[in-house]
Symmetry: C2
Subunit: 180 residues, 2 copies
DNA sequence: GTCTATACCCGGATAGAC
DNA sequence: GTCTATCCGGGTATAGAC
């Protein structure tokens, strides 16, 4: 079972926010204890009064990002005529707006022990609801969305590929009735 | 246009093979110029007589791995009654057998300038053929396979999830006729 | 809580002797 | 082609003064 993340001091929250900014601006290489300290005007050694280390910093960013992602998905499906299409659009939009954050969250194992209880399930719920209770189809559709986003972010599609059309084609196929 | 990779000396080939072993055994962190040199019994500085640097080493591993992947896909579809299912099985089997190699190849931009001409296209051809000329559906199916593999490798599916069933569900949906 | 100073580890890469 | 020696950079983390 996941355990709730510990409360952070104001300075701790400031550090996490600055760390996220550094990550989103310059990718993982841009986020080091030294650069993070410099961003908030202290020394690297002082960070350890507020956060246990780099893993703690990253886990806090993941928790914030995952919550925002869940909120975006919930907002997208609310009242949408085609929830699956709305969800796909929100998924892709989040990844394109926050590519480094998306990869920090989704491209490696989750730091589950450092995340708030229930957050992972909350993020997964809208897709499960849109697929109407077929968990295999929901997982397949999640994989499709994650794969589309990762291949786009890593520049793997050929020049001129119509990614909107690929999204439509995939969601149309996967959104149909599951037959086994 | 991609340019052919330069020929390697026997020592160069030995270094690339050793580098791939280190990667597959211990992941990216296990592959450094120093560990690589130690593996073949020389000093790190001597590597630079055979390879331009780390990027060169990684590109050579990618080229070898991508060729092997293409061969595995070609073998899987040859004479298979259900080419798409065969391709899916070969795709997942390769990723599970070589997780670190899979990620080196597929989880970041390709070093196209250092790869042999035509290799990227060769690796993509079997899937395009299995999807019968619908490029959008082929891209969607590629994304599905990549997503399934990445989510499995990064331990993102819930405990007890039936991944075989998710693969079947996704491939069945995506393999149907494209309608738009 | 922050500082200075420091320690330790790792990495990629180069110069020049042999 | 290999070596030694070295440089530079990065990272995490700690001790002790203030």
């Amino acid at each position: 079972m996941a355990s709730s993340a510990p409360e952070l001091s104001p300075r701790g929250r400031q550090l996490v926010a600055a760390a996220r900014d550094l990550l989103e601006e310059g990718g993982p290489e841009a986020l080091s204890m030294r650069t993070l300290a410099a961003r908030v005007g202290i020394r690297a050694s002082s960070i350890y009064k507020h956060l246990a280390g780099r893993e703690d910093v990253e886990a806090a960013i993941v928790a914030d990002g995952l919550r925002e992602f869940a909120e975006a998905c919930e907002a997208a499906v609310a009242g949408a005529p085609d929830p699956l299409a709305a969800l796909g659009g929100a998924y892709r939009a989040f990844a394109r707006a926050h590519p480094h954050l998306y990869r920090l969250i989704n491209d490696r194992p989750l730091p589950r022990a450092l995340l708030p209880d229930g957050l992972e399930a909350r993020a997964a719920a809208p897709l499960a609801a849109a697929l109407g209770g077929d968990p295999d189809r929901a997982r397949a559709t999640w994989a499709f969305a994650h794969g589309m986003v990762m291949l786009e972010l890593t520049d793997r599609f050929p020049e001129g590929a119509d990614l909107d059309a690929a999204w439509r084609s995939g969601l149309r196929a996967l959104g149909g009735a599951a037959t086994g």
